[in-house]
Amino acid sequence: MAGSRTGAAHRTWILTASGNDRPGMVAGVTEVLFRLGGNLEDSAMTRLAGEFTIMLALTAPAALSAVKLERAFAAVSRRFGLAVHLKAVTHRAAPSGPSHLISVYGADRPGIVYHVSHLLASHRVNIIDLSTHLAAPSKGRASRPPLYLLVLEVQLPSRLSVSRLEPRLRQLGKRLGVEIGCRAVDTAVL
């Protein structure tokens, strides 16, 4: 199946990989892609718990099957001890409407992401981006609990207004003992 936006000769894949971080991993993965005649469309790379993690949206010639692609990454995977996973993109998400930012912060405790995302899911709110930050208190302030910050970019279904969602988020915030706020993504028009 050919990706509709990339022409008949190409196909879109999502590649995820993770392994013990060391220099050369990005070069190793992207070199394979380059030699295959593929193209990198989008990427997210970061370190999680000190582990190198990478997510790539890539296009590759349609002639390359999943097996062939996996084989192509086998050497780099062995060399860096990378766990590589490939998934074909079969359809593109429909273009979406304006988004909102939900910030959540408070003393760290288990279940913050779960409870917030569960509430959003029950209102058919789609999470399109999620980032978190756990602040370690400096020494001498060890009595303070670590501060957990979660920022979600979401899209609301057309029949749901922010004014209806906000009180529910606030209520949940009270229950969890965290601050929750929601605002429209304000894009600067320059």
Partner: protein
């Protein structure tokens, strides 16, 4: 003048809106003095709002000349019941806060704001602010409405940072002991 302890999140007072000040009484005067003393006690601190010292009144002080980015000629400014009545432009600036001591964050603010407020004698004034002063005044007005800079960051990973430098009272800086 007294240096007061600074409230740190999750202290609930930081998330509450402040009451406006009807009259600048001697109590309000003392608060202004204490806010000023407390701000000046903390190196590089350019502004402090009443809820940060545990008082739910719409009072803040600002002294941007205490920071290298501030204009050296700008003196102490007292903001009683400040309101932003006009704003334009946008700038991104790394902000820190005494009440969120372990983090700093990239926050988008208006580049220019017109502020309406009263001074330490209760006289109304209005003025345009720009540059570093505009950012500082928006940060303080946020405090008086129960907002922290964390309410304004767009990405927890790319816009929020662990504070690396803590300024000591003697003006020197250093990393926290590991």
């Amino acid at each position: 003048m007294a240096v007061l302890p600074v409230r740190v999140f999750p202290d609930p007072i930081l998330k509450l809106s402040c009451q406006s000040v009807e009259r600048v009484t001697p109590t309000v005067h003392r608060l202004i003095h204490d806010l000023t003393a407390t701000m000046r006690h903390h190196p590089r601190c350019v502004g402090l709002a009443a809820p940060q010292v545990g008082v739910r009144w719409a009072v803040a002080v600002l002294e941007t000349s205490r920071h290298p980015k501030g204009a050296p000629e700008s003196g102490l400014m007292v903001l009683v019941n400040p309101q932003i009545v006009e704003a334009d432009g946008a700038v991104l600036q790394r902000e820190g806060c005494l009440s969120v001591p372990d983090l700093t964050g990239n926050v988008r603010r208006a580049a220019r704001v017109r502020v309406q407020a009263r001074d330490a004698e209760g006289r109304p004034w209005t003025a345009w602010f720009e540059g570093f002063e505009a950012i500082a005044v928006q940060h303080e007005v946020d405090h008086l409405q129960g907002k922290l800079f964390l309410d304004r960051v767009s990405n927890a990973k790319t816009d929020v940072f662990q504070r690396k430098t803590y300024w000591r009272a003697d003006g020197t800086s250093g990393r926290p002991a590991q």
